[in-house]
Symmetry: C2
Subunit: 333 residues, 2 copies
C-alpha cells in the first residue's frame, strides 16, 4: 500500500468511501474533516462477474461522484474500501471472501493503479461500526460496539477510540457467538448462534416453521399462501398490522438480540451499542423488548452505563466508515 | 490514593500482593521487577468479622511476610489488593461487595494508614488475569482473556497490553453471559448463564439432579449416599475412576466451557485464553473436550491464532496480579 504521504490538514479535502456488499455496491464522497457522504452512487455488486468488472464499476462510480459533487479531483486524497473478509489490511488483498466468491484478490493494488490514490481496506462490518463511531450514533464515546443485523449478523468493536481487529483480524463476530448451545442449526454448521435466530433470513425461517406447523396468521395472506415469500420485512409488516403470531416472532427476535447485547455489555462494558442493518429498522417495535431483555440480563452498573441506540447513518455507515478507516491508516484523522 | 512518587528503578524492590477472596485471604511478597510471590501467608477471610479485623490480618500477614523473606522494609514500595467488587479503583473504596458483605469500605485508605505505603485496589478476577499475563501463562501476549472457573465464573480481559476495565469498571463478566437463553436458572436470577452450568457448585448441582432422577453412579458411594456432599471435586474423582455418569457430567461441563471460550474467541480474537480456578485443575480431562468444542464453534482463523492453556500461577495469580496492578498504577511497571 502507499506510504503515509497525505498532508495533515484535512479541510476541504475528500475521501472516496466504498462499501462492497454481497448484494450492493455503494460509493460516495466523504469530507476528510468529517461529515456524511455525498454524491452517493449505488448498483448491484454482481461479484460473480469477477473482480475486474467490479473494479471498473468502483472507479467509474468514484469518478462520477467526484464530478457530481463538483469537487476538484486534486482535493481527493484517497479511497477507503469496506469489503466482506477475510482480508489482509496491510497488503490490501482479499484472501477469500465467501460472500463475493473471490480468492487472493489484490483489490487495494488494483484500485490504487486505476484511481491513482492510496487505498485502505477493512472488513465491511468494521467499516460500518467505525462510520457510526466517527460520524454517527457513537460520536464522542470511548467504547462502542456496532451490531449489524441484516442478511447476516456482524459487528465491530471500538475501544480506546480505536477499532479492535483482534490478533488475526477476526474480532467482532458476534453473529457466531452461541446463545443456545443446543439450539437452531446455523448456516455456519454450528448450533445456537445468534445469527441462527435473529438475522433476516433466520427470522423468516422461524416464521415459516410456525406456519408450517399450522399456526394461523395474517402472514399467510400477505404472501398469498406462498410461504417461501416470507421475509423479515413481511413478518414485521404483519406484526405492525396486529397479527399475534408475527408479533411473537418479532418479540422473540428482540429478546434473543437482547441476550446478545447483554452478553456484550457484561463482557465489554461499553459506553454504547449501536444497532445497524435492515432488521434494526423495525425501530421501537424491536428496541423496546430488546432493552427490556438487556435490563433483565446485564449487570446494572454495566447496563446503566450503556446507551443502546439505532445507527444514524442509515444508508451510509459503510461508506463513511471506509473513508474514515482510510484517514486513520493514512492521515491524521 | 497516594501520588505516583515511586522511583522508576524496580530492581531489588518489592510489592505486597493481597488476594482477599470470599473464602481465603492470601498475602505474599512479589519482586517489583517480576517473579512469583514468596513468603505466602494464608488464612480464612471471615469477612463477616468486619473490615477492621480483616485489615488487621492483612497488615499483620504483610509484616510477617516481609520478615520471613528477610526483606528490608524500606525496599517494600507499596501494596496491591485484589478484592471482589464492585469497587472504585480511583478512591480505593469497596462500594458494595456481595461476597464480602461490605459496603462503602475505604479499604485503600485504611491499609495506607496502617501499612504506611501507597495502595492500589482492583477487582479480584482482574488481578488474577493480570498475574497470569504479567508473570504466568499469558507472558508476552498482546491480548489475553483470563477465565476463572471456581465457586463462580469471572474473567479479566487484557488487550494492547492493558487491562480492559470497561467504561464503568464492570467488564469481564463472562460467567454471566448467556449460553442457553432458556437454560438453567443461575444464582443471579437469569437463565442460562455460563456460571449456571460450569461453576463448581453448578457442576455438583447438575450431578445431583441426574442422581435424584435415578441414574446409577459411583458418585453415590463416594459420598456414602449423602448427595448434599457431592462437589465438583467428587464428580471429577468419579470420572477419573471410570464412572460413566460422572464422565458425562465432566464432558458436558467441558463442552459448555468450550462454548464460552469459543464466544470469547469469535468476539475478541485474543492470542490466548488462560484457564484458572479450581475447576480447571481437572487438567486434560477437561481441556481436551473443551478444545474440541472450541474447534467446532470458533472461526478457524481466530481459533488457530489462540492458545487455550491452563494458568501457571496456581495458588498465586491473584497475589502476583494485585502487586502487578500496583506497579502499573503507581510505578513504571
Amino acid at each position: 500500500m502507499a506510504p503515509r504521504d497525505t498532508p495533515g490538514d484535512l479541510t476541504g479535502r475528500w475521501v472516496v468511501g466504498i462499501d462492497i456488499g454481497g448484494t450492493n455496491l455503494v460509493v460516495g464522497l466523504v469530507p476528510a474533516a468529517g461529515g456524511d457522504a455525498v454524491a452517493l452512487r449505488n448498483r448491484a455488486t454482481d461479484a460473480e462477474r469477477g473482480v475486474d468488472a467490479v473494479v471498473d464499476d468502483v472507479v467509474r462510480m468514484a469518478e462520477e461522484a467526484v464530478a457530481a459533487a463538483g469537487v476538484d479531483r486534486d482535493r481527493v486524497i484517497g479511497m477507503g474500501v469496506g469489503c466482506p473478509g477475510p482480508l489482509d489490511r496491510a497488503t490490501g488483498v482479499v484472501s477469500h471472501s465467501p460472500n463475493l466468491k473471490w480468492r487472493d484478490v489484490p483489490l487495494g493494488a488494483l484500485l490504487e493503479a486505476r484511481f491513482d490514490r492510496p487505498v485502505a481496506l477493512d472488513n465491511d462490518a468494521n467499516c460500518a461500526a467505525w462510520g457510526e463511531w466517527w460520524q454517527g450514533a457513537g460520536r464522542g464515546t470511548e467504547s462502542m460496539f456496532g451490531l449489524i443485523v441484516g442478511t447476516g449478523i456482524g459487528g465491530g468493536w471500538i475501544s480506546g477510540g480505536e477499532l479492535q481487529h483482534g490478533c488475526s483480524d477476526a474480532a467482532g463476530e458476534i453473529g457466531h457467538t452461541t446463545v443456545a448451545f443446543d439450539g437452531r442449526l446455523c448456516a455456519c454448521g454450528n448450533y445456537g448462534c445468534l445469527e441462527a435466530y435473529a438475522s433476516g433470513p433466520s427470522i423468516a425461517a422461524r416464521a415459516r416453521q410456525g406456519l408450517v406447523a399450522g399456526t394461523e396468521s395474517l402472514l399467510v395472506d400477505l404472501v398469498e399462501g406462498d410461504l417461501d415469500r416470507i421475509s423479515a420485512v413481511t413478518v414485521f409488516e404483519a406484526a405492525v398490522a396486529g397479527d399475534a403470531f408475527a408479533d411473537r416472532v418479532v418479540n422473540d427476535t428482540a429478546r434473543i438480540l437482547g441476550v446478545g447485547v447483554a452478553n456484550l455489555i457484561n463482557l465489554l462494558n461499553p459506553e454504547a451499542v449501536v444497532l445497524m442493518g435492515g432488521v434494526t429498522r423495525a425501530g421501537e417495535h424491536l428496541l423496546g423488548p430488546l432493552r427490556t431483555e438487556v435490563r433483565t440480563r446485564a449487570f446494572r452498573v454495566a447496563a446503566d452505563a450503556c446507551r443502546i441506540v439505532p445507527g444514524e447513518l442509515i444508508e451510509t455507515a459503510g461508506v463513511v466508515g471506509a473513508a474514515g478507516r482510510f484517514l486513520r491508516s493514512h492521515a491524521a484523522g
